[in-house]
Amino acid sequence: MTDIFQLDGANIPFEPGQTVMQAALTAGHYIPHLCYHPEFKPHGSCKVCTVKVNGRTAASCTMPAEAGLNVESNIEEMNGLRRTLVQMLFAEGNHFCPSCEKSGNCMLQALGYDLEVHTAGFRHLYPDRPLDASHKDILLDFNRCILCELCVRASAEVDGKDVFALSGRGITKHLIVNAESGLLKDTNIALTDKAMQVCPVGVILPKRVGFSIPIGKRRYDQRPVSAQALDDAPRQADASGSCDVCEGTP
C-alpha cells in the first residue's frame, strides 16, 4: 500500500523520500516552480512553489511528503504570493524580454504569463551586471540571472567541473565563474556541458544560434509552462545524493 496526501482535493500517492513537489509532478499535478528541476536535488530558494500544508506555508519542493497532509496550492492566496515573488525576480535583474533571445523559451517569462503577472509591482533595482562575452562559443548575460543555481549544480554534479559558483551576500549575491581572471574563456566549460542546458532564463547562451527558432514558435509559445513541466516530471531526482556545492542543501 502506498501512502497518500491531499493536494487541492486530489489524492496524491508518494514513495518514501519524495517531496510534495516530486510526488505531485509524478502524479500529474503541477505546482509552479523555478529553481526545482526534476534531475536535481531540490534547492528551495526561489519559493515560487510555496504551498499551504495543514494551514502553514512551506516550499513544496523541499517539504517531505507525509501521509495525510492537506496541501493547498492552486488557491488565490498562494498564486498571489507567487505573483509577488515573480515580480521581485523581475525587479531584481534587468529583463528586457523583447530583446532577449531566450524570449519564448524562458521559464520566468512563461511563469509570468501563467500567473497573470500584469504589472511591475516593484521599483526595479537596475543592477549593474556586465556581460561576459569572452568565450568564443558562449555568452553570459548576467542581467537575467535569477540565482536558481541550476548551472552551479549541473556543472558540479553532472559535469564534474565547478564552472559556476555564487559570490557576495544578500542583494549583492551574483554568479561567478571558476577562473582567476573571472572570465568564462579561462574556464573549462564546453558547449556539451549539462550546465549549458539548465538555465531557466537567458543567461547562459550558445553564440550564433540565438534566433534560429523564431519568436512565436518557441517552447512556451506552444503550450504553457504548467503543461510542459509535467512532461519533464518522470525523470526523477535521486533523492539520496547529497550535494554540498550549492546553497542550503543539507
Binding site: 531540490p42 528551495g44 530558494s45 526561489c46 519559493k47 515560487v48 510555496t50 506555508t57 516550499a59 523541499t62 517531505p64 504570493l81 509577488t84 515573488l85 521581485m88 525576480l89 525587479a91 531584481e92 516593484f122 521599483r123 533595482l125 540565482l147 565547478d162 564552472v163 559556476f164 559558483a165 555564487l166 559570490s167 557576495g168 551576500r169 544578500g170 542583494i171 549583492t172 549575491k173 561567478i176 565563474v177 571558476n178 577562473a179 582567476e180 547529497s242 554540498d244 556545492v245 546553497e247 542550503g248 542543501t249 543539507p250
Partner: protein, 599 residues
C-alpha cells in the same frame, strides 16, 4: 609580479598545516590569511585551493560572503564603526564623519595611499560602552571626539596596533545586577565530577530543571539533548553558539569573559549526555579579542583532565573543544547556517527538516545551544532541578541575563529571575521618560509605555537578552529604519523573498525618510511583510518586517508626519539622480540642485 604573488602566499602553508589541510577549515584559513595579509589575494586563493582541493570560484564565494574578509586590498588599517541604533544615539555618525574628514576619505573607500578604509558594520556588541569600532578586527570602545582624533593620528603615523594605548581596547563587563549565574564561583570541574561520581543522568536532570534555550526560541534543552543522543550516527557533536549577532545583545560576551568555565563545563556535560567527542565554540569575529583568553581556559581545563582523553579518569570519555571564529555575518547565528560556516562554507541556512539534532555538523547528530544555555545547564545540575525551578516562573525556569543599552544612566548586564517586568528593569537602570523598549533586538518586539507592565519570559515577552531603551527624544521611525538596514545588509541572499524583499523595504523606508513617502508605501510595507512572513526560508526573513510593523502599530504618527498627502509618489528622485554628477563636478551649490517645492 612573481615576487608579488610570492609575498601573497608566504605564511599560507603554516596556516594550512595548523588546520591539517582540512577543507572544512576553509573559513578559519581565510580568516587567518586576512589577518596576516590584510586581504585575500587571488594568488592566495589559488594556493589554498590547490592544497585543499577546492575550486577557485567556490573559495571566492565563501570569502565574499563574510563582511570581514576582503578580496582586494582594503587598507592597512580597516576601521569599522559599529552602526547599531545605540551607537548612533551616542553620536557615532558624527564621529565617523570627523574621522573621514581627518583622513580625507569617503566611507567605504580605501585611501589612495592604501593606508586606511572607513566604513560601518553591524552592531559589535558594545552597546553599553559605545560608540564602538573595530580596527583590523580589534574592538575599541567609548569613542569620543578626542579618542577618534588620536586614532586618526596613530593611523597616519602608521603606529602598529600593538602600540596603541591599551585603554582603547578595554572592554568592561558592566555587571549591574548579578544572580546565581554571574555569582557562581564553583570550582571548574566540580559539577562534572559530581555527575560522574553519582552516575546521574544528565539528560533527565536537564529535562527536570525545565531549562529552555536562551538563544531566543526557547526550545527545551533536555529534549534537544535527548533527541541528539538517540539519533543514529557515527559521531556526535556539541556546538556552542557564541555568534551573538542580534543588535543590542552582549550578555554572551560577558559570560565568556567571566564564566567561561561554566560554558565549557556545560558543553562537556552535554558531550557526556549525548556521547559526543568533538565540541565547537562558534565565536563571532567581533569578539576576536576573546580568542586567546578562551584558549587559555581550554588549555587549563585540558591540563586538569577536564578535557581531552579519559576525562576525570573515565575510560572512553574523550571530548575536546575547538574555537571557530566567525567573520562578520549575522546569519551565522542561525543554527544551520552556523553549521555550514563551521564546515567552511557560505553561511546559508539549510532546509529543515532534517534538523541539526539528527543531521548537523558533517550530517551527524549535533546539539547546538547558546552560551547562556550551557552555563544554565551547568547551574541547573549543580543546584538540582527543584531549586533551579524555584527561580523564575512556571514555564520559564531559572534566571536570565539582560543586556541593557540606550537611554539610561546605567547600561550593562542585569541578571533577573524570569518574570521580571519591563518597568522593573527600566527602574533599575535608571531610565526616565521612556517612550519605547526594543525587547530581544530588531527581530524581537518594540513595546510602548502602556505595555511596560509586561514580563520577560516565555509566557509573555520571550527574549534572547537585548533590551534597548528609547526615551521621548527619540524618533521611532529612525529606530525602525536602522533595523531595516541591518536586515537588508545581513540577508544571506539565498531565498527570493528575503533577498529582494529586505532591499525593497529598505528603499521604501529611505523614501519615507526623504519625505517622498505616501500612504501607498505604508500599504506596500504591509504587503511585503505578508510575503516575507509566509515564504522566507529562515527566521531572518520572517522577522525582517517586525521593526516596521511594531512601530507602525504603536507610533504611527512618526510615519504619518513624514508622508506627503499624496496617495502615490514615484520613487524616482530627479534631484537625487543628479548626485553623481554633483560629486563628479565637485559642486553642491543651489544651482546644482533641482528646486524642491515647499509644502
Amino acid at each position: 609580479m612573481a615576487a608579488d604573488s610570492e609575498m601573497q602566499t608566504t605564511g599560507l602553508d603554516s596556516i594550512l598545516d595548523r588546520y591539517a589541510r582540512d577543507p572544512n577549515a576553509l573559513l578559519q584559513v581565510l580568516r587567518e590569511v586576512q589577518e596576516l595579509h590584510g586581504y585575500i589575494s587571488s594568488a592566495a586563493i589559488g594556493h589554498i585551493g590547490a592544497k585543499l582541493g577546492i575550486p577557485h570560484a567556490r573559495i571566492e564565494g565563501v570569502a565574499s560572503f563574510y563582511s570581514f574578509l576582503h578580496l582586494r586590498p582594503h587598507g592597512e588599517y580597516r576601521v569599522l564603526f559599529s552602526d547599531n541604533i545605540t551607537d548612533r544615539m551616542l553620536g557615532s555618525q558624527a564621529l565617523m564623519e570627523q574621522m573621514c574628514q581627518q583622513l580625507w576619505l569617503q566611507p567605504g573607500k580605501v585611501s589612495e595611499d592604501g593606508l586606511v578604509s572607513i566604513n560601518t558594520t553591524s552592531c559589535t556588541g558594545m552597546c553599553d560602552q559605545g560608540p564602538a569600532m573595530l580596527v583590523n578586527g580589534r574592538a575599541i570602545t567609548k569613542l569620543t571626539h578626542q579618542r577618534v582624533q588620536e586614532i586618526g593620528h596613530l593611523i597616519r603615523n602608521r603606529t602598529p596596533l600593538a602600540d596603541w594605548p591599551a585603554d582603547f581596547f578595554r572592554v568592561e563587563d558592566n555587571i549591574r545586577r548579578s544572580g546565581p549565574l554571574l555569582d557562581n564561583s564553583i570550582a571548574p570541574g566540580d559539577v562534572l565530577r559530581a555527575v560522574i561520581e553519582s552516575g546521574k543522568d544528565v539528560v533527565e536532570a536537564v529535562k527536570q530543571s525545565g531549562l529552555r534555550g536562551r538563544g531566543g526560541a526557547g526550545f527545551p534543552t533536555g529534549q534537544k539533548w535527548e533527541a541528539c543522543r538517540n539519533a543514529p550516527g557515527a559521531a556526535r557533536h556539541v556546538v556552542c553558539n557564541a555568534d551573538e549577532g542580534e543588535p543590542g545583545t552582549f550578555k554572551d560576551r560577558v559570560l565568556l569573559t567571566r564564566q567561561a568555565d561554566l560554558v565549557f563545563e556545560g558543553m562537556t556535560l552535554c558531550a557526556l549526555a549525548v556521547g559526543a567527542r568533538h565540541g565547537y565554540l562558534y565565536l563571532r569575529g567581533e569578539y576576536r579579542y576573546l580568542l586567546e583568553p578562551l584558549q587559555g581556559v581550554l588549555q587549563r581545563r585540558r591540563d586538569s583532565n577536564l578535557l581531552g582523553k579519559n576525562i576525570l579518569g573515565q575510560t572512553d570519555f574523550d571530548f575536546d573543544i575547538a574555537i571557530h571564529l566567525g567573520a562578520g555575518a549575522y546569519i551565522c547565528g542561525e543554527e544551520s547556517a552556523l553549521i555550514e560556516s563551521l564546515e567552511g562554507k557560505r553561511g546559508v541556512p539549510r532546509s529543515r527538516p532534517p534538523f541539526p539534532v539528527t543531521h548537523g555538523y558533517l550530517q551527524q547528530p549535533t546539539a547546538v545551544d547558546n552560551v547562556e544555555t550551557f552555563c544554565s545547564a551547568t547551574l541547573a545540575i549543580q543546584m538540582g532541578a527543584e531549586k533551579f525551578r524555584a527561580i523564575g516562573t512556571e514555564r520559564s525556569s531559572g534566571s536570565k541575563l539582560i543586556s541593557v543599552s540606550g537611554d539610561c544612566p546605567r547600561p550593562g548586564i542585569y541578571e533577573y529571575p524570569f518574570g521580571v517586568s519591563v518597568r522593573q528593569v527600566l527602574q533599575d537602570c535608571g531610565a526616565v521618560n521612556t517612550r519605547a523598549v526594543q525587547i530581544s533586538g530588531p527581530s524581537g518586539m518594540c513595546i510602548a509605555e502602556s505595555e511596560f507592565g509586561r514580563k520577560l519570559g516565555f509566557e509573555d515577552l520571550p527574549t534572547a537578552g537585548a533590551f534597548m531603551v528609547f526615551d521621548d527624544s527619540r524618533d521611532l521611525f529612525e529606530v525602525a529604519r536602522n533595523f531595516v538596514h541591518f536586515f537588508a545588509h545581513e540577508s544571506c541572499g539565498f531565498c527570493t523573498p528575503c533577498r529582494v524583499g529586505t532591499s525593497m523595504l529598505k528603499q521604501t523606508m529611505d523614501k519615507i525618510a526623504a519625505g517622498h513617502g505616501t500612504r501607498h508605501d505604508l500599504n506596500e510595507i504591509e504587503h511585503l511583510d505578508q510575503v516575507l512572513q509566509t515564504s522566507s526560508h529562515c527566521g531572518l526573513g520572517r522577522s525582517a518586517c517586525n521593526p516596521v510593523l511594531h512601530t507602525l502599530k504603536r507610533f504611527r504618527p512618526a510615519y504619518e508626519n513624514r508622508l506627503k498627502s499624496l496617495d502615490f509618489e514615484p520613487a524616482f528622485d530627479l534631484d537625487g539622480a543628479l548626485a553623481r554628477a554633483r560629486q563628479m563636478t565637485g559642486r553642491d551649490d543651489a544651482g546644482a540642485h533641482l528646486k524642491t517645492e515647499e509644502t
